[in-house]
């Protein structure tokens, strides 16, 4: 059905499916973390933000167990060709997910820090909007990973540009605020860090999509432009 489960050895199949499920469990946890962090930032909800910070340990535990699982597969099954690419893809995706977890933790910490001051509602609205775009991207990237869907991966990779643009325009606006009122600079800097973390999460989602394309098509597209990826693979999954 999707090339993942046609293996000659069914025990490799079971191992890799188990590891893949762990990755998606980790993904689910990270999605809920992101949701909480953005809500905490918007509502200045310190308790929620602290929950996010504490749960980051769980995310890191997933990273360790998945890494161990993959190492075991390498050692015991000595996979080749497609199987090897799959395990590599899983490892790389896990690393990016763990980094995404770290960025989310940073956003949560910003929420804790900023809850004291009276915040400008419009600023937080823009951060929330950026956050929602990133949430959607993460969700679709994980869906694409679950189904190993190349078309979805290409689509999601394309959306990262929009997020970058949104981020840049937000930066410009924040800078004008800072120039207008220098006293607001510390607070706005914090918001900038939160926005930067969100933008970086978007970048990592793009990485994950590139890994999916690498696995399915057997071609490393990590440093290829999106247009050439589309041109080559387009709608032919």
């Amino acid at each position: 059905m999707n090339g993942i489960t046609d293996h000659t050895s069914s025990s490799f199949n079971a191992d890799i499916e188990h590891v893949r499920s762990s990755v998606l469990e980790m993904g689910g946890l990270i999605e809920s973390q992101l949701d909480k962090a953005i809500t905490a930032l918007r509502d200045s909800n310190i308790a929620l933000a602290e929950e996010v910070v504490v749960n980051d340990a769980k995310v890191n535990r997933y990273d360790v167990t998945i890494d161990e699982g993959c190492t075991r597969i390498f050692a015991l099954r000595a996979p080749a060709a497609g199987d090897l690419r799959l395990v590599q893809t899983v490892l790389r995706t896990t690393t990016d997910l763990e980094r995404i977890g770290d960025e989310i933790k940073r956003v949560a910490k910003m929420a804790i820090k900023n809850s004291k001051g009276a915040a400008d509602a419009s600023l937080y609205n823009r951060v929330e909007h950026l956050g929602n775009s990133v949430k959607a991207t993460l969700n679709r990237a994980l869906d694409a990973f679950a189904r190993m869907d190349v078309n979805a991966a290409i689509e999601v990779a394309g959306e990262d540009k929009r997020i970058d643009q949104e981020y840049e325009s937000m930066m410009r606006q924040l800078m004008t605020y800072m120039m207008e009122d220098p006293r607001s600079i510390p607070r706005i800097l914090d918001i900038m860090w939160a926005a930067r973390s969100l933008e970086r999460i978007g970048d990592r989602c793009q990485n994950i999509c590139e890994y999916i394309i690498y696995f399915v098509k057997g071609k490393d597209v990590r440093h290829t432009s999106l247009d050439s990826i589309r041109a080559e693979f387009g709608d032919d999954a």
Partner: protein, 430 residues
């Protein structure tokens, strides 16, 4: 039919052998001739077998072979077999679709999973709710696609005795009630119902009660306060004394009702935490000494058959005891025996308050915890009751995973039993 083919084939064989034998005899090698005839016949048979095999294994690629006699019969029968089997397949598919149709039409999401958690089928509502595709997502692992941590955990622990309530994030957040039923060998059907509207309605109701009570409280406090002042001032004309006193009593009663409503509104919903340890015997003693202060004539007894402590909210349990004791005092007449007991029972622990009052008729027993329910309307109002005491008791018990039972005999008395589950008990090691 069979007899014809067999005899036909044997006849053919006979003629082939004769021909071969004759040719051979004419050339002087009759045995060789026979031998060649047999070989030729065998070659023909083997060829037919090859053709048949090719045709059966790839019916679309190869035409039905030309065969006469027995071979023709074989081909015809095989074709007939295939047609029958196709017809049966179509019939079964149709019946299957008929069975699945109700599930597909359900307004709630329904998904069938196999023992590995892979999707076997889903209905349209499931597609919409979880953003899945019924055609292409069959075979995918459900937990991989719908990654809600609570749901994944729920499926992992596979304990489906309790339903699960989760929040589905999205453009519009939805609250879902998830129910799972198992069948076959570890196969599941998962039902997801969108209960967001219901949750919102319940919350609205709670908010309404709380808001109304709160708004009423302020004006009432003003009225109460001034009435008290006026009566205490001693400057009121005699004809106004009784009316004003009655007004003060009634406004006090209104304030009590509002306090109780606000208490109920606060209790609604959350379960009591498992953090605080309640020393039940000590709490019972405290409650009894408070009750003694209210009524001098009643006799109070403590029967602590166990020293077991429980987890919960001490303030709430205190309120529970006060309410039960107040009721006991009110309905026990001028004097009588009131007993609090605390003991272990089969599935947990029981806290009971027994009085020697007039008892409650059986038809009232199931309705006692309804808000504002009165057995005897006039009497209890005179005694200043709000009608909410037992509703509060019931609410507190629900928060502690407990429930209330009432035993009563007219003329003898009543017992109110609070049954706490074992899970609420503090183990003796702590």
């Amino acid at each position: 039919m069979m007899r014809n083919w067999v005899s036909e084939e044997l006849t053919r064989l006979f003629w082939v052998l004769c021909t071969g034998g004759l040719m051979g005899w004419l050339l002087g090698y009759s045995l060789v001739g026979l031998f060649i005839a047999v070989v030729a016949y065998l070659a023909y048979v083997v060829n037919q077998l090859v053709l048949v095999n090719r045709w059966i294994s790839q019916p679309k690629r190869h035409d039905i072979p030309a065969g006469f006699g027995l071979w023709g019969a074989v081909y015809t029968n095989v074709k007939r077999l295939k047609r029958r089997s196709k017809k049966r397949e179509r019939y079964l598919k149709k019946r299957l679709a008929e069975y699945q149709a109700p599930a597909l039409a359900l307004p709630d999401a329904a998904i069938a999973l196999n023992q590995r958690g892979e999707i076997r089928w889903m209905n349209g509502a499931a597609e919409n709710l979880f953003n899945l595709n019924a055609k292409t997502d069959v075979g995918e692992n459900f937990a991989n696609l719908v990654r809600l941590p609570q749901l994944v955990e729920y499926l992992k622990t596979a304990d489906y005795a309790q339903d699960l309530q989760v929040i589905l994030p999205g453009v519009i957040e939805k609250t879902l009630l998830i129910r799972v039923a198992t069948y076959g060998k570890g196969q599941l059907v998962l039902l997801a119902q969108d209960i967001s509207a219901r949750i919102r309605a319940e919350q609205s109701k709670r908010d309404f009660v709380a808001n109304v009570s709160h708004e009423l409280r302020t004006p009432l406090t003003v009225i109460s306060g001034y009435l008290e002042n006026m009566i205490d001032s001693g400057e009121i004309p005699e004809s106004f004394e009784r009316p004003l006193t009655l007004m003060e009593q009634q406004s006090l009663r209104m304030r009590h009702i509002i306090e109780d409503l606000l208490t109920l509104a606060k209790l609604d919903g959350a379960k009591a935490d498992m953090d605080e340890v309640i020393d039940v015997p000590a709490l019972c003693e405290k409650a009894i000494s408070e009750a003694r202060a209210i009524s001098g004539e009643h006799e109070f007894k403590l029967a602590m058959l166990t020293q077991q402590k429980i987890y919960g909210d001490a303030k709430q349990i205190h309120m529970l005891l006060s309410n039960l004791l107040t009721n006991a005092i009110k309905y026990s007449g001028a004097e009588g025996l009131i007993t609090i007991s605390w003991q272990k029972e089969h599935l947990g622990y029981r806290l009971s308050v027994t009085d020697s009052g007039e008892g409650i008729a059986p038809q009232h027993l199931s309705r006692l915890t309804e808000r504002f329910y009165r057995v005897d309307k006039d009497r209890s109002r005179d005694q200043g009751g709000t009608g909410l005491g037992l509703a509060i008791v019931d609410s507190i018990l629900q928060q502690h995973d407990a429930h209330l039972t009432v035993e009563s005999e007219i003329g003898v008395g009543s017992t109110f039993n609070c049954h706490f589950p074992e899970s609420r008990g503090v183990s003796n090691n702590t």
